[in-house]
Amino acid sequence: MTRQFKEILIKNLFALLAFVAVLVLGLIVVFLFREGLPLFRLVSPGQFLFGTAWYPTYDPPEYGIWPLIVGSFTVTLFSCLIAVPLGVLSAVYISEIAPAHLKNVLKSVIELLAGLPSVVLGFFGMVVIAPWLQETFDLPTGLNIVNASLMLAIMAIPTITSISEDALYAVPREFKEASYALGATKFETIARVIVPTALSGISTAVILGMARALGETMVVLMAAGGAAAVPESLFDSVRPMTASIAAEMGEAPFRSGHYHALFATGMVLFGITLAFNLIADAISNRFKEVGSGTL
């Protein structure tokens, strides 16, 4: 075997292994569709997506996931109301203001927070936040949108902070120096030069944080209460898509309508998070070339 031949062989081997990731993504689609599509022999896609009744175990069963979709987006939205300001401001603090030793401590804090298993946060929401909410606001249950959103925010913050911080860090030094040279204060430099320059990266961070919250399972399974109805108040229970899949898959008879409906819900969830990721990817690519040379 010549040396050149061997080199080409090795290169192709690596290429093959690298494309396993893409292959897996394809397989995920294939197997979600394989187990999910048979549902549409029972109901139409319109009925499935926009039907307001989720009674998969009734006779006759109803497979409308609109309340689950609303549930997913409600908790995601409210968790982002908390996580986006906290996450982005902390990123600004870490990257622009904090002294070096604090910077490292805070980065580790963010990393440890990211490492906290979701089942632990779900548990915390159940045993600490829920009783507190129930007593303070005199509610029938503390497992509701507020509780799940709080816990989800804790899950989304590390994603938002670390990606925002990368974006802020990448702002060229000359930009800051130019701003200072014009007599701007540090705050003015941050608000008018650094953050606007890093805005595409920060947007990516926010979108990925939302995708994280939308796809999170254990927290909403344990802390959101599980009522499959369109919520009317912040203290109502909801059943996000992820929670519904996780809670019901164990009981759904193999290849029943219910089983297929849960896979179809997985298809919807996968589609939504894929869209979020593609948008984030497009944003970060479009604005990648921002630098001193391009302005």
Partner: protein, 293 residues
Amino acid sequence: MNAAAPSTSLKWRYVRQGLFFGVVRLSAFLITATLLLILAYIFMNGFRAISWDFLTLPPTDAMTRGGIMPAIVGTLYLTVGAIAVALPLGVASAVYLTEYARQGLAIRVLRIGVNCLAGVPSVVFGLFGLGLFVVFLRFGSSILAGALTLGILILPTIIGASEEALKAVPQTFREASLALGVSKWRTISRIVLPNALPGILTGSILGIGRAAGETAPIMFTAATFFTAALPRSVFDEVMALPYHIYVLATAGTQIDETRPLQYGTVLVLVALVLGIDLVAILIRSAMRKKKRW
């Protein structure tokens, strides 16, 4: 530029800056306090449940007494299996991306693929594992199916970390080796990979932590409610720490009576996962200090 207008006094500009710095410090402080509060709460409530028996005995009396040994062992098997799947694949992918690939459509597809894989919700990995490994390949609910599912879940983490580590190896190292007439593969295996190894390890350790703490992907692929016996083959179901917490906290008959067990299990899981993460963080900071280039 209102800030520069004469009506905005210098004093006001500094007051505004002070306010902003206050808000920013507060948010960083809040996040830190949240982490510490959760950890302190778990520790205070959990440490009383921890004993030698708790760690070495299986659950007894319909899971209202006894220990969590089968869950610890199960999590260990699943995690080791996951890293065995993800590490070779992840490092190979990263080598291809950083050392071989040229800009082009294929690479673009590859990058988007890896990014999208990283964004797939964990419960969807569970469904995928159920559809492919458990049903289609007939592995059943087993260590094998769970480890493969978890391995795929952490693959993007490993790829990302390995890529970063490989990119951090100075280009001059490669050039020096190639200039001596060493082939590309030898350059990679003898020069690039050894220098990137600590970084790859750090990333892998973080991946291990992630795999150990995940619940949703193993719910339908590997985890079982209760088994006192230890697994004998990769086709056996296992108990796992995260799933055990979920089961005790939501599905047991005596949820309130088993609270101490729940806290104990949470503490063991958190100690395990954050312990693993902390090791990775320490290795990395030691590495940064020692770096010679």
